[in-house]
Amino acid sequence: MQGPLIDTLARQGVSRRTFLKYCATLASMMALPPAAGRAMAEAMAAARRPSVIWLPFQECTGCTESFTRSHSPTLEGMIFDMISLDYQETLMAAAGHQAEEARHTAMRDNAGKYLLIVDGSIPLGVDGAYSCIGGRSNVDLLQEAAAGAAAVIAVGTCAAYGGIPKANPNPTGAVSVSDIVKDKPIVNIPGCPPIPVVMTGVLAHYLTFGSLPELDDKGRPKAFFGETIHDRCYRRPFYDQGKFAKTFDDEGARRGWCLFELGCKGPVTYNACATVKWNGGTSWPVESGHGCLGCSEPDFWDAGGFYKALSVPADPLGFTAAAAMVGAGAGVAGGFANRAKKSTAKKTHEPVTLDDLEVPK
């Protein structure tokens, strides 16, 4: 399976025109000029598929599901046509020693050239014992694989930012890929799960231009994570008009009003769901009537509750009653002290005489 991509595709019944069409759409999604779609198609058709090692750590396989759930040759599904996936536990037929062998072979044969895809966070607690494969800890495996990788792609919020395993109280001491790998380029594709086409875009960019796409300060491709869900949301006009659904079954919810008050995290979530949508462009959470959870943001799990609006307290206020007591106490104490001081001043009052009015000596 080492020929040009276009041949692989052709064997699967994907015509050149279909491929061109995908590339045009992909370029459009990545906010590249239309001509880039063409260049991408040319470059990729002839490209040799890079070797990819996919390491799963503390994860739920949701990310893999997200990429593999497309039944027909869609944009999302193309990921697997674009690469030579040499190690992926969930997908590969081999198991045990054979699988380990495959990984070692790929790492040796493509040293310095392979792409490392990681999903899941890495537990550091108890020397990484919370998650091991073949008796080796995740952190150990990651460091070994990263050493020979050309670049690392952290797929899903767990790999990118620690995700749910890192949520309070983070029992396993989970961290993200970028907390461990410091000397390789890392692309974060967060989301729980991430949007598959983002991965396609990153790979297409890598194959076409030989480099990683432009990233934001959180290591995410700007093309997909450049704007918030809120800014691209079709319900945005309702926010601006002050029309909000107050419950999931009220008139506002039925009329498709803004879900801000129901806890939508769209305003602080950078992702492309509102434009790319899910399930082949069928729908996306907000369109289905549920607010955004903010799953592509670091620590989204601990951001104050999915059903709490952004402007309300993240935690119930705990100090207020105590503060009121202390304040009242301080006030009353001060008041007593003041009154005592005043009455002392009054008691020690000496009648003012004419002599007091004279200039002090």
């Binding site: 276009i6 994907v14 015509s15 050149r16 025109r17 279909t18 061109l20 069409k21 995908y22 045009a24 759409t25 370029a27 459009s28 999604m29 906010a31 000029p33 239309p34 001509a35 063409r38 027909s72 040759p73 869609t74 944009l75 079709y234 006009p237 309702f238 008009q241 919810a253 039925r254 009329r255 498709g256 082949g280 462009g281 069928t282 369109e287 009537g289």
Partner: protein, 143 residues
């Protein structure tokens, strides 16, 4: 049971169609510029409509202005695509759909023939091989 039975109706547009944003008319100038370039140097170009802040009213307006030409190409490749010539020859309205029929991208392409319509030499070569097979098969049959 169909979707309309579900009593939740999602309004994709706020009540009262958002009108024209005013972003469409300048595109006509852009198209004209590209057509001029095509005539002068033969260089084709395209405008990615989904990358521009256009309302659906804007798109309708634009499509209506450009009108319909003589050629309408339909491409069946991973969903339907339409490549329609507008009333201005050399200006094509290209719409790509996925297998579910949803629009995935939309372009105005300025070219004598849209790139996607042209057959790729490698594919033509493969076609030639197929033809050669057919001929030899036929000869074999005739023998």
């Amino acid at each position: 049971m169909t979707l309309d039975v579900i009593p939740i109706h999602v309004a994709n547009q706020p009540p009262g169609e958002p009108g024209l944003s005013g972003n469409a008319p300048p595109l006509l100038r852009e198209v004209a510029e590209q057509v001029r370039r095509l005539l002068e140097s033969g260089e084709p170009s395209a405008i990615d409509l989904s990358a521009l802040p256009l309302t659906s009213a804007d798109l309708d307006w634009l499509q209506e202005k450009l009108g319909a030409g003589e050629i309408a190409v339909t491409l069946q490749a991973g969903g339907e695509s339409t490549l329609d010539e507008t009333a201005c020859p050399g200006v094509w309205w290209v719409t790509h759909r996925n297998e579910q029929g949803a629009v995935t991208s939309q372009f105005i392409e300025v070219a004598f023939v849209p790139e996607l319509v042209k057959a790729h030499p490698e594919d033509v070569a493969i076609g030639l091989e197929t033809l050669a097979f057919m001929i030899s098969d036929h000869q074999g049959d005739a023998d």
